[in-house]
């Protein structure tokens, strides 16, 4: 009798996945060139998303996570632990909760590595089908974000690397500042259409380019 039921949820071959934005249509006026846009919006679909739970006070847990992910476990809100080249990040979400994002298709291998490295009271939960990542870049991103979230996105309050979960329009989003003018939103699948279109609507006045 096993303790847990985990398995790779991605098919071996053949099935074409659909991102949460597969059906979403762009209805605002857009700018043809990214260079001339105030905001460039791009979806990073199909990434591996894992929710990690455990005790930050347990050194073995922290060491295990670092060993499995090759990144230190952030022990308080922001900054993001991130390796851009490998496409791996770990974000503090709440006192015993982290969001791990890994390249598409590697979520099951990552989960197994974590489980091998961890013991005791912890949990790893795959939520890859439930969320997607929107990248916003360009000079007007901060203005757009101010039209979306009450959270203070001023550089003095939201330095590069910081990540928070907050109110976004009438829903929620995880907001991550990954570079000077580059931000990521982690949004839930069922709200993706609403949030994507809200972001585009808020961006229209600054000139928005959507990377297809």
């Amino acid at each position: 009798m096993s303790d847990l039921s985990i398995f790779d949820l991605n098919p071996a071959a053949g099935a074409k996945p659909e991102s949460p934005l597969a059906m979403t249509r762009v209805t605002v006026a857009t700018v043809a060139s990214a260079a001339k846009a105030g905001v460039v919006v791009r979806e990073h679909a199909f990434l591996g998303h894992l929710i990690l739970r455990g005790r930050a006070s347990d050194p073995a847990f922290c060491a295990g996570v670092e060993q499995a992910l090759g990144l230190p476990l952030p022990l308080k809100m922001g900054p993001l632990s991130r390796d851009e080249a490998r496409g791996v990040s770990v974000q503090w979400m709440s006192p015993d909760e982290w969001l791990v994002i890994v390249p598409a298709g590697s979520e099951f291998a990552t989960e197994k590595r974590l489980r091998e490295a961890l013991s005791g009271h912890y949990a790893v939960m795959n939520v890859s089908g439930g969320q997607t990542v929107l990248e916003l870049s360009g000079p007007a991103v901060r203005d757009v974000l101010m039209k979306c979230t009450p959270y203070d996105v001023h550089p003095g309050h939201f330095p590069v690397g910081k990540a928070v979960s907050s109110v976004f329009a009438k829903s929620t989003a995880i907001i991550r500042r990954v570079a000077e003018d580059r931000w990521e939103l982690v949004i839930r699948r069922s709200f993706a259409d609403y949030l994507f279109r809200w972001v585009l609507d808020a961006s229209e006045e600054f000139g928005v380019h959507v990377v297809q």
Partner: protein
């Protein structure tokens, strides 16, 4: 068209850019830089409105937000109508179209005006209520016509094509008002590197400096304004917001700023590069410190016929001359209680027009401005006031008399002075409105003769609003406020050189509000206190005589301070009159409070983008596009859009649902069940946690098995239900109702965090991660077998089991659970792969008659089985036993569980509680109304004892008759009885009480 009141030189208008506009259907011309009010005055338009109650002709009184009369209806088209715009705050643009809000058939010949003139004496406060009070039933009819005759502007009847939005901002220092104090404060804060927002409601920043006679650093004050704005504008963390009104000051320094972005440009927001422009924007500001630099409003004096066009406040006269190069008349009489107002007469004289006299209430005025007026040979009548003006459509003369301030009486002969304009000034009221929004009571200061803001944490008043009036002191006060704000923020101020301003010596002002008349107030011509609401001094006197002693009551009885101007001009005068009548001081009388909004704002700005498609988020499943493509009608379930039914051709909803029901019972149907809440539970104490959370037992549920569970609140009432599967010893997959998902997860977290933190268990929502497809019907096994590697045989994969495998090549968990009573497999796959699996099922499913079905068919099928829907068949007052679900309550579980104690109360053990039953209407085609009340006796008259109600009701094609579920008192004992359902239209339906399980009571269909 001539602009006869426009002077050749000066002003801040651009004479090279003439603009056309129309007012009440007449075309005029003004210049860029004009407001609608200044352009009307330039064109000599005296009458801009009819008054609210007496329909008296009214002209422009002020130059800013305090204007009570020039309240116009704006908009060239029906869709662009904006009501109640102050003409003094509306920038002129080419093609502007406006009209009066009052006056029928028109502002010049008004029908109500006749009634107002004849009956004015007989229309005291409360007139309408007193006159039209009986019979009470007729009031709604009277009211309809009374409101039509009075009333302000109207809303558009067509959809507004413009867009509005909200933006969230944070700053260290928010400065409200860009006059001398605000500019100085912003400069100090900005130079220190603070995050500063400076907002001002006017077209241009600068406030009183724009019409000032006093140079700063030896140059025109406006030059200093320009230099400061340029410096502030270059600072990256300073935001300048002109045309932006701080409309509401809320708790914890949350301030809303209403920015009008295009209303100075055109009737509708012009598009830029094909992109929509936001017409108005609400800035939602969280400010560390708020510097209130809102200045003052000049108080007019209250004298007889002070509402005849041509009566203005003194400062407005100066503003029109300096800012707009408009002198709104030929011959001026100034009536004042203070030195400062002398500027109006000096400005008037410098503009080349005649000053007939300055009438000063003080016996011996002295001060620099008085001396200057004397030097220029202007006649000054001391110890006197204008007690009345004459003229019907424009002032033709002013009656001036000596007055006894202390005795409140006219003490000398009356002299009539021919003139066409009377400017008055009774002093300056600090603009305390915003501070009052927070609940802080304004405080009276005798030296200011006005109320100053009460104390608000994090708010620093500066300049005029702080009772500081002389320019040099105002600038210093602004600097000090800036320094204090920085200190509170933990920042350091750099030294700032104060600009040089000549100190103007001013004499002490007299306290004068209502001017005495030779006749008592009740007999004298009307002395208006609040022109917008037609409140007179006599009306306030009457109110106090009738026993309204609280100023709040006086306000409500007379209407003083209501409307768009919120008592900006009249309130202090009204309080002073009430105080005099009550024989007490103004601070004893107190002030009314002000509420948001400071000036009217549009509903568009309130709504922002939260309208139309963005009013509420719509949540979609991974299969939504397929549903749309296949013609589904949708139902909103919470925020989810769920397929309701899938009509084919011209099918009605009823026909489609009947067909879908038969397909499931006879062949196979499929439901998108992705919206069901799903919670993943991991940890060694997961099972124990479930035992405490659910009413039933989980100890013996094996891996590979699933179980239905009921959840109660601590009051023993059902809160949610669902199937939870044991994935591993320490691993469970819980499902909840669609609407209950978030609440259940919060509930679990709360109990875990507060009551049982020792349990080693974690939860997380996986609702969006998994897509769920419920395959139901006798052909379900055959169809699924074509696509899966899972052994579907009855022995290997029984009812309430789950298995892992692939479906259409996609890894899946398949649950053999059923909400229809049919053989059923609920296929769960990672949502990104759901469309592939769904389409594969339809490819293989055609030969089995695979039919998509929606929530309506799901409801019919589950109700036939007597399966309840929490929230439809229950309402928070229903226990498990009320539903006949005793089998789902584990009283023998070793550890208590949520709701157990409440379920042992006598009330929850009663046998006559409302219990779930089935109803079979005697008319087998009749579908009872959901919510219909049940009675036991057909003949009983109203009020009759009601014993229950219908919770679900449908027609079943399978059963061939209609049926319903109901909650009925003592229902389990009434099986076989006939009950009655009286309808609003007088019909009474009859139904037999039956078991709630209508179909396959022994579960033979799904145990196959």
């Amino acid at each position: 068209m001539s602009q006869r009141n426009r002077i050749e030189q000066g002003g801040r208008i651009d004479r090279s850019r003439p603009l056309r506009f129309s007012f009440n259907g007449v075309g005029y011309q003004g210049f860029a830089g004009d407001t609608l009010a200044s352009a009307l005055l330039a064109n000599g338009v005296d009458i801009v409105n009819r008054s609210f109650k007496y329909a008296r002709v009214r002209g422009i009184v002020a130059a800013g937000a305090e204007e009570p009369n020039a309240v116009v209806q704006l908009g060239a088209t029906e869709a662009s109508q904006v009501p109640n715009v102050r003409a003094t705050q509306q920038a002129l643009y080419d093609g502007l179209t406006a009209g009066s809000t009052n006056g029928w058939p028109n502002v010049d010949r008004d029908l109500m005006g006749v009634l107002g003139k004849v009956g004015g004496k007989f229309m005291p406060p409360g007139f309408y209520y007193k006159t039209f009070m009986s019979p009470a039933s007729m009031w709604p009819k009277y009211e309809k016509y009374i409101r039509k005759a009075a009333g302000l502007g109207r809303s558009p009847r067509e959809r507004d094509p413009d867009i509005y939005d909200h933006i969230n901002r944070h700053c260290d220092v928010l400065v409200v008002g860009a006059g001398p104090a605000g500019l100085a404060a912003a400069l100090v804060a900005g130079r220190a590197g603070a995050r500063v927002i400076l907002c001002d409601e006017q077209e241009e920043m600068g406030g009183s400096l724009l019409d000032s006679r006093e140079p700063i650093d030896g140059r025109p004050a406006a030059d200093w304004v320009a230099a400061v704005l340029q410096e502030l504008g270059a600072m990256p963390d300073v935001l300048l917001l002109p045309r932006t009104t701080a409309n509401g000051y809320h708790d914890h320094n949350f301030v809303t700023l209403h920015e009008r972005r295009t209303e100075h440009l055109a009737d509708l927001a012009p598009a830029q590069n094909g992109r929509r422009t936001v017409r108005a924007r609400m800035h939602r500001v969280r400010a560390g410190q708020v510097i209130l630099a809102t200045g003052t409003h000049e108080r007019p004096l209250v004298y007889a016929n002070n509402d005849v066009p041509g009566n203005m406040i003194a400062g407005a006269v100066s503003a029109y001359i300096h800012r707009y190069a408009v002198v709104p008349g030929q011959r001026l009489v100034l009536s004042t209680s203070n030195d400062h107002a002398y500027r109006a007469a000096l400005d008037w004289r410098e503009a080349g027009r005649e000053v007939v006299a300055i009438v000063d209430a003080r016996g011996n005025p002295e001060g620099d401005l008085v001396a200057e007026a004397r030097k220029r040979g202007i006649r000054i009548i001391t110890g006197s006031a204008v007690i009345e003006t004459r003229g019907s459509r424009r002032v033709s003369s002013a009656l001036v008399a000596k007055i006894d301030l202390a005795g409140f009486k006219v003490s000398g002969a009356v002299e009539e002075l021919a003139c066409d304009t009377v400017a008055s000034s009774g002093g300056y009221s600090p603009v305390v409105h915003l501070a009052a929004h927070t609940g802080a009571r304004p405080e009276w200061r005798d030296d200011v003769l006005g109320f100053v803001p009460g104390k608000v944490k994090g708010m620093i008043p500066a300049g005029g609003v702080n009772g500081v009036m002389a320019l040099a002191e105002v600038l210093a006060d602004g600097v000090e406020a800036g320094c204090r704000a920085l200190m509170e923020t933990g920042m350091k101020a750099a030294p700032l050189r104060l600009p040089e301003v000549r100190r103007v010596r001013e004499g002490k002002a007299a306290a004068l509000y209502q001017v005495p008349h030779v006749k008592p107030a009740m007999r004298a011509p009307k002395q208006f206190v609040d022109q917008q609401n037609d409140v007179t001094a006599a009306g306030i006197e009457l109110a106090t005589r009738e026993g309204f002693e609280s100023i709040e009551h006086v306000k409500r009885y007379t209407g003083m301070g209501f409307g768009t101007d919120q008592g900006k001009l009249g309130n202090i005068n009204g309080m002073a009159i009430a105080a005099r009548c009550l024989g007490q001081s103004i601070p004893e009388t107190g002030t009314t409070v002000f509420r948001p909004n400071y000036t009217p704002i549009t509903f568009g700005a309130v709504a922002g983008r939260h309208c139309g498609e963005f009013f509420d988020p719509r949540r979609y499943t991974a299969l939504h596009a397929w549903h749309v493509e296949h013609g589904a009608k949708f139902e909103e379930v919470g925020q989810w859009m769920r397929p309701w039914y899938f009509p084919r051709g011209n099918e009605t909803m009823h026909e489609a649902v009947q067909r879908e029901c038969r397909a499931v019972r006879e062949n196979v149907g499929i439901l998108d069940a992705s919206t069901l809440g799903k919670i993943e539970i991991q940890g060694k104490d997961a099972r124990e946690f479930l035992n405490r959370l659910y009413t039933n037992a989980w100890t013996k549920l094996d891996v590979g098995k699933a179980r239905y569970g009921l959840m109660c609140k601590d009051d023993g009432m059902i809160m949610d239900d669902g199937v939870t599967a044991c994935l591993g010893e320490n691993h469970f997959h819980m499902t909840t109702t669609t609407g209950g998902a978030a609440g259940v997860l919060d509930w679990m977290e709360m109990w875990h965090q507060t009551e049982w933190p020792e349990l080693e268990v974690y939860f997380n929502s996986v609702t969006d991660h998994w897509a769920a497809m419920a395959l139901n019907g006798p052909n379900a096994r055959k169809l699924l077998a074509e696509l899966t590697d899972i052994d579907l045989s009855k022995d290997k994969f029984g009812f309430m089991d789950w298995r892992e495998g692939t479906v259409a090549g996609v890894p899946a968990r398949v649950f053999r659970i059923s909400f229809t009573g049919e053989l059923s497999y609920e296929i769960n796959v990672q949502a990104n792969h759901a469309m592939h699996v769904w389409k594969a099922l339809f490819e293989k499913g055609e030969k089995y008659g695979l039919t998509p079905y929606g929530t309506e068919t799901m409801h019919v099928l589950r109700a036939e089985k007597g399966f309840v829907i929490i929230g439809q068949d229950t309402d928070g007052s229903v226990t498990p036993e009320d539903l006949g679900m005793q089998w789902c309550v584990g009283y023998k579980k070793p550890f208590s569980w949520i709701g157990r104690r409440a379920l042992s109360r006598p009330d929850t053990r009663r046998t006559d509680r409302k219990q779930l039953v089935g109803l079979k209407p005697l008319d087998s085609k009749l579908v009872l109304d959901e919510g219909a009340q049940i009675v036991l006796d057909k003949e009983v008259k109203i009020p009759m004892p009601m014993v229950g109600h219908v919770t679900s009701s449908y027609f079943s094609p399978t059963l061939g008759h209609s049926f319903a579920l109901a909650l009925l008192k003592g229902g389990s004992q009434r099986i076989g009885q006939t009950v009655y359902l009286p309808m609003a239209d007088g019909r009474v339906h009859a139904a037999e009480v039956v078991s709630p399980v209508f179909y396959d009571p022994n579960g033979e269909r799904h145990h196959v």
